[in-house]
């Protein structure tokens, strides 16, 4: 049986993990490579690096981070943030990333999804969708959740799938940071709309929330950042709990 995936997300700025805390046994909490290794020993199924570096110049450091991680961690690596063209895809894939996530750039130029899928295969093209409730559904937000594009999130999910997107990283702007649980309604509607894997993101705060998103929606994976960063829960604890609940996870 295909296992549900638990994915820690590392926010990386200028080559350093943001908000890193000192895990036991971790020499440098700000070092993305060490942090990725730590999550690996905890049983993470994948690692997502989100580059939140502001300047374009500093982004080269992300390539370096991916290269170093790929020499030590042998699981799928996804990189997102600041990806704007096919050349960025090539650079990250050559550095050792398995998947590359685009968000704003795909909204600005949706054919970037098609070009990247054509060139490198759908399996490495992830579209990150930041969605927020409106009066009549969910809209796609870009620029880190600051700009409402007016695009309907369900329609957008369908469209990127048809363009060749291989996976959707779905973040609920309403749930993100609340610790009140994943947005079940949003995750459910998107996973019923498309036939590609969905990574649910935003809002988890308890073990129960992980079970909820897998039991009540078609999500294939659940992603968390701060929850794992601040050791509120370990990946091992989450997986033990899910296994007890009868949800297939890799142990």
């Amino acid at each position: 049986m295909l296992a549900k995936r638990i994915i820690p997300c590392l926010d990386v700025k200028d080559g350093r993990v943001v908000k890193g805390v000192n895990f036991v046994g971790l020499r440098d909490a700000g070092d993305p490579v060490e942090t990725a290794e730590f999550y690996n020993t905890q049983g993470a199924d994948e690692i997502v690096f989100l580059d939140i570096t502001a300047s374009h110049e500093q982004r080269k450091t992300m390539v370096d981070v991916v290269e170093k991680t790929a020499r030590k961690v042998f699981m799928p690596l996804t990189v997102g943030g600041g990806i704007s063209d096919v050349e960025d895809y090539r650079r990250m894939l050559n550095a050792g990333a398995d998947k590359v996530a685009v968000n704003s750039a795909a909204v600005k130029d949706k054919y970037l999804v098609a070009r990247a899928a054509d060139k490198f295969g759908s399996q490495c093209v992830v579209v990150a969708i930041d969605a927020k409730r409106t009066e009549n559904g969910f809209n796609v937000y870009i620029h880190g959740g600051r700009t409402d594009t007016g695009i309907d999130a369900v329609q957008w999910a369908k469209e990127v799938e048809s363009l060749g997107c291989g996976e959707i990283l779905l973040t609920s702007m309403d749930a993100d940071g609340t610790k009140n649980g994943f947005d079940i309604e949003l995750t459910d509607i998107i996973s019923k709309t498309v036939n590609i894997p969905i990574i649910a993101s935003g809002g988890c705060g308890t073990l129960q929330h992980f079970a909820d998103v897998f039991e009540k929606t078609g999500a294939d994976a659940a992603l968390a950042a701060t929850l794992f960063h601040f050791r509120e829960l370990s990946i091992g604890e989450v997986k033990d709990y899910l296994k007890e609940r009868g949800i297939w996870v890799r142990r």
Binding site: M1, A3, G121, P197
Partner: protein, 208 residues
Amino acid sequence: MKTVIIDYGMGNLHSVKNAFEFIGQQVVISSDFKDFDKADALILPGVGAFPDASKVLYESGAAEKIIELCTVKNKPLLGICLGMQLLLDESDEVKLSKGLGLIHGRCERIADTGLKIPHMGWNDLVVDDDSCPLLADTRTGDYVYFVHSFKANLADKSNLCAHTFYGEDIPAVIGNGKNVFGAQFHPEKSEKVGLGMLKSFAEFVKQR
């Protein structure tokens, strides 16, 4: 020993190289037939579409070279993902195209059972042939990482070493009983279990 990763322009080979280096193996990426001759073992990786790969392998002469080395010289070969599918006789992905024919069977689309395609993520193995050298340290229930839309349909079930289940049984590890092996999943992305298989392959090559 020296392992050569065959470079034929399909996909990123660095992950495979990184994994072999991590387990302490000397490994080079090459498209030079002279390197294939000198290698103790060959790795045929690959991500992408079967027809493109088949075309490149046959037009460059690499296909004949690999077939010769694996049949006449019995050189060990491990095909990974698309590289495993290429070991078969043919594939109907996009259009009918020729494989290497080192293990008999066809490459076909995964049956539509209502599950998402591609089959992507960690899935557990059932070991069918525990004498397969690649599976020396692998047990039923071990998880490995898959990304694929096509699967092997083997002509001879004795070539099946391990399978997984995704709506139907899917060959995960195949072998010719001698020197040719294939893994449908990515050992280089399957952490301890995958690295263990690469170690077992290296051990097999060393013991010959």
